[in-house]
Symmetry: C2
DNA sequence: CGTCAGTTTGATCGTTGTCAATCAAAGTGG
DNA sequence: CCACTTTGATTGACAACGATCAAACTGACG
């Protein structure tokens, strides 16, 4: 429940001057419109469930501040993390409006969200034609990210999977501050989160992390991530540079 | 290359009167609009690549007839199948318009597609506000399907994965003919396809299929799928009935 | 009838999961 | 300020699921 309480903005380590924050351009567009429509901002504590699996949802969340994740619990009780959401992400949009969700969402840090009723979004989309297309692009981006994770889990070794996840989060988080390039960041995950996202057990994640640490590639201790050798990290993740660039939002 | 050549419509076995075909309502809407805009239909042979990984694409495909699949080749050379596309699916829509794709698409049977330039789609979306939202819903549906596959590969045993895939394709394919409920269908996959979609080797897929056959749950021989015991198949897939229903398009 | 793609099976190996114990850090209440 | 608790990290021993390698076998098709 606790975790990162009190140090929410987290930011980069290293203490250099912080550049201007940049959210996903598209998302910010919708936010601006929707926010101007009296949909209030709301704060939530780390660990809170934004919505649960099987709940009937009629609102969409726009994540303004903090980290969250989408997850699924399979029948045998094991959790699969589907997506780590960063500021600018839209959560809970559902093909069939007010239908039940097939996954849950949980705050990873303290977060700030604005909620937008599905209905409002529909109306907005009629009034502003670019809203629908923007949303389509965002959904398509989420889908492509999910496709990347499928390849990761289905076709890579434990070591590659972990390296991949770390690299992805590093790139996605870092791209919020264009121009900056820190080697250290606050990564609000436990090893269990990493395992649940990569289809591994936390025990095995630990072993993999030990390996990466001993090889002086990355260190990840108590939610502090330090990239020691970016090149070899990219190598260990065995990821295409082109794909890597697509993680960074523009 | 060959495969199902010459028996393209495939259809249900069993020989009962075929009910009316139903495509995804949303998709058909876009198709109708786009087709009226002189974007021609095009036939492609089974095995043809519609587009390859890393190609620069500026057109979107609407799959009118046949099966296709999206795939990714990871750096170590292994293939991951991301999605099996059925009639009504939109393929190749990309968040950043004319950017390179991070995955390829290949026809599984002979297919018929209509191509729609990205540009045209943009213009359509401005003219018809519902187009963007429709596309958003389709992308969101694809994403949810991908999330399901993530849970499948990440958190289930080989047996559950294979059962799940078979069940999903059975339900998705079957829901094109509402009211019909056949126990046999043409499933244009090799065991290698099944393996690449479930994160297994084709050898292990074979062993799992043998198990399911000996237990009299399903038979899958040479692209002919026969469901012997639907209830136990659902059981073997360990899938939530709610989720299963969401596979059927309405 | 021969070729080829795809299926089937066996033997063996190794990556990763499971179980269990210990340790470290941080929060909690007296 | 100090026990006490809780959550998460770490390590070892062992088991198992699925991969790998290799060799037939089968059906489809020219």
């Amino acid at each position: 429940m606790a975790g990162t309480r009190g140090k929410l903005p987290a930011g980069w380590g290293g203490g250099q001057a912080r550049p201007t924050r940049l959210l996903h351009g598209d998302g910010a567009g919708i936010l601006r419109i929707a926010a101007s429509r009296k949909s209030g901002n709301r704060a939530m504590r780390a660990g809170r469930n934004m919505f649960r699996i099987g709940e009937r949802r009629d609102t969409v969340y726009f994540l303004a501040e903090g980290w969250a994740f989408l997850y699924n619990i399979s029948k045998n009780g094991r959790r699969q993390i589907l997506h780590f959401a960063l500021p600018g992400d839209v959560l809970g949009f559902h093909p069939a409006g007010g239908d039940v969700t097939s996954y849950g969402a949980q705050a990873l840090t303290d977060i700030v969200v604005s909620t937008i009723p599905h209905k409002t979004l529909e109306h907005l989309a009629i009034e502003f034609p670019e809203v629908g297309m923007t949303l389509a692009r965002m959904m398509s981006r989420d889908r492509d990210l999910a496709y990347g994770h499928l390849t990761n889990i289905g076709r890579r070794t434990a070591r590659e999977r972990v390296a991949n996840l770390i690299l992805e989060l590093y790139v996605r988080y870092g791209s919020q501050w264009p121009g900056a390039c820190a080697t250290e960041m606050h990564l609000p995950l436990t090893q269990e989160h990493v395992g649940d996202a990569t289809g591994l057990t936390s025990v095995h994640v630990n072993r993999v992390l030990r390996g990466l640490r001993q090889e002086k590639i990355v260190e990840f201790h108590y939610r502090r991530l330090r990239i020691l050798d970016p090149d070899r990290l990219v190598d260990a993740a065995s990821v295409d540079p082109q794909v890597m660039r697509s993680w960074a939002r523009r």
